[in-house]
Assembly symmetry: C2
Homo-oligomer: 208 residues x 2
Amino acid sequence: MNPEDRREAIIAATLAVMQRQGIAATTVRDVAAELGASSGLIHHYMASMDELIAEAFGRAAGADLLATRALVEQGQNPLEQLRFFFDSYTRSDGDSGMQLWLDAWAEAARRPELRQISQLLNQEWQQLICGIIEGGVRAGVMNCTDPAAAAWRILSLLDGLHLQEVAHGDSVTGHQVTKWSRHGAEIELGLDPGTLTNSSQGNPLARA
Amino acid sequence: MNPEDRREAIIAATLAVMQRQGIAATTVRDVAAELGASSGLIHHYMASMDELIAEAFGRAAGADLLATRALVEQGQNPLEQLRFFFDSYTRSDGDSGMQLWLDAWAEAARRPELRQISQLLNQEWQQLICGIIEGGVRAGVMNCTDPAAAAWRILSLLDGLHLQEVAHGDSVTGHQVTKWSRHGAEIELGLDPGTLTNSSQGNPLARA
DNA sequence: GTGATTATTGGACATTTGCGCAATAGCGTC
DNA sequence: GACGCTATTGCGCAAATGTCCAATAATCAC
């Protein structure tokens, strides 16, 4: 098998195991079994377990970011971009993606390579939001004196709400995450209530 | 040693290890060493590692909640109560308490006993905030149509910002968490900017 | 075909983990 | 002072884990 493809296959298998068992419980042997290969092969391509985990997490989380960014760029104006952002963000972690983030944040303290990629990706998420806000302020449709801080707040609010949903199940429901996070952003940016809801209109990815 | 005291001592030692190393990296032997006793003793008092961890986490997190609640109750009016809340909340996890919460949220998916206590405590945190807001609305000093949702937003915003600080270190600083979370609450509740800052005035726990 | 290079195997190794258990020490009771 | 109960010890066990390595299989250049 082509070394490059093999490496990709290992990362894909690692990701599958991570989503099933969580980052902390992902072992080399499990990855090997998922791949249908021996454990030694994994170390032939990866220097350490940390690298393997960081790589797999970065691949998955990076794909989500890319997808959201691509959708946002299709927005015709800042308001539509923000709507698309919420559509895509709430979709990207519907299954087990958010549990992965929870694991990553907790494990970051003990896995340097994972912390690095996690921090980088979070900053890029914040910058994506920040760019939308700056555009909205420039266009005069959003009211915000500190876009960077507002972007961190919107991102943190989303993460904090999702966290409750994923960790505890029925304290906060997925529907409430959607509703409350959008409402929080409306308040934050001085938008009329409801501006960010009913967002599927005009969304190229919306289901029919 | 009195069995009840011994049990408390074990929980205290477990907590110390947990705060130093994180929940996932806490082992029976470490707890025994911290306690200055043998590993067998821990199992004489605790049925399993899960029980030990859930007990210790619940004790620590519960104490933080109690302390904050006690301080809030000393506030003379809703605004002061909210100020005291932010003072106490940002203090309670200054050291390593927040890493504990990160571990707990991540581990909740796989440790039922831990999830139960974590969910309960989070709901109580939310209710504490919700009570303050309801008082503020009644007194006419806060503007909020859905106190329960606003409370979840304020709590989630705090958690999300703290999360960035603890997991990534220099993306978001402790000072920014303090500033941004209070500003977020001001926006959320229709307060004048700055209402929630300079909160140490009149705070009985403020350092001189 | 032959040799060299490399992908791949499968298991050894040292370490760590939760847990159990037989032995011991301590202490109160009669 | 002897007995009994229990707190406490310290080690052992089985399982799991990351890492490494010698042996093997596959592939390709010549």
